[in-house]
Amino acid sequence: MTSILLNALQYLGYILIFPGFLFCFVCGMLLCGIDRKLVARMQKRVGPPILQPFYDFFKLCGKETIIPDAASRTTFLAAPLVGLAALVVIQLFVPIHGFSAFYGMADVIVILYLLLIPALASILGAAASGSPYAGIGLSREMVTIISCELPLVLILLAIAKTVGNALGTGLCFSLSAIADYQLVHGSLITKARMIPAAIAMLLVIPGETGNHPFDAAEAETEICEGMLAEYSGGPLAVFKLSHAVKMLTLTSLFVALFLGGVGTGITAVDGVVVFILCVIVTAVSISFVHAVTARLKIEQIFKYYWTVVSGLALVSLVLAWYGL
């Protein structure tokens, strides 16, 4: 009886504190702040303080929440929470070095589906707000999702084939098996055939999080923030938080898939190591790309992902398939 209770308490701790909600909140916001600071420094500006996303979040919590007359109230308010919950769930499955809160319960296919939920939630929220700007934004967001999905699937297939070949099981989609493989054989990024896939994944990250130059869906200068046009106060704060957590989720997924096997075995230390690696991945894939590019048009995003990025991922997949 007590053991069941302790187990339940342990899982509650996983969900609410580490690596669940609290960890996501603090680390995601910090990552977002570091990203803004890095972009500012690259543009020769002083930049906001690293804690700026926290200030933004608490300020938005204290603002009036306006619900438009044309909006469908329940969907409008529930959508941001659903998106955030899905992201926290992903964080529970992504292994940190050897440690995973729900070990062996999910594979990369589950993550692929869970990654869609935040985007779908924001599309639902935008559709429920009844604003024409949100309508344009959500149609662009749909195209962005479709663009990112193909290269992401190809990357995951390439990883699954590489790990599966080594384990002799054909395709291996289990996240814990991928983590264990890297503990024994070293990080996947050190394999020459995985380098194109890693570059492709670095290019997928800004698309998935909706960062520059792939932020046509939230273009604040042309379509009034797009999907977020009608959001204010608390729900907007949750959307901003979701964006920050999404950055953490995708970068930590990159770390788990390509930079695994770096760590000490002590979970607390590994958490810090993974966060530092996340910061480096963010600096390369989000901040640097943000600082040097301008916003792409939606058809350019689609073309870019389905030719260049998918091509890179395909190279890795073919090499992995023939075991080169």
Partner: protein
């Protein structure tokens, strides 16, 4: 404690929404100039918001033409509380060189309560930053009274 946190955060993260009510574009360029590396108001937490729903401070430029008046008032009424209204340049305060024109409905203070006026044609970036910093203090007080 939570109330205090929100109040402090409100002063540190003011988002601007910019309305052009028939301005000559001089003030609009100066407003964007304060976001450039030389002045960089993002270090104080300022950010240009794309939608009035997400803004804290409304910056109005231009002499409020008759055509733009209903749109300006509608945009301002969509900004959630606590909000702060700042006029930028001489036009929305007095009409400037457009005063007396058949098409000008200003000044803005006839229609809404204006918190801060930034004078000048166009104001210097230092003056704009000073005015906006004053507006954040007013914003914090308004949040405290809520």
């Amino acid at each position: 404690m939570f109330k205090k946190l929100i109040e402090e955060s409100t002063a540190k993260s003011p988002w601007l929404f910019h309305i052009n009510s028939g301005s000559c574009n001089g003030c609009d360029i100066e407003l964007v100039a304060i976001l450039t590396p030389r002045y960089d108001v993002e270090r104080l937490g300022f950010k240009l918001a794309g939608s009035p729903r997400q803004a804290d401070i409304v910056v109005v430029t231009g002499p409020i033409t008759k055509q733009s008046l209903p749109r300006v008032l509608r945009s301002i009424s969509q900004v959630p509380e606590p909000r702060c209204i700042v006029t930028m340049g001489s036009c929305p305060q007095s009409g400037n060189v457009f005063k007396g024109s058949y098409s000008v409905a200003g000044p803005l203070s006839k229609y809404v309560h204006v918190d801060v006026d930034i004078a000048g044609c166009a104001p210097k970036p230092e003056a704009i930053i000073d005015g906006l910093a004053l507006a954040t203090q007013i914003l914090k007080e308004k949040r405290g009274q809520m």
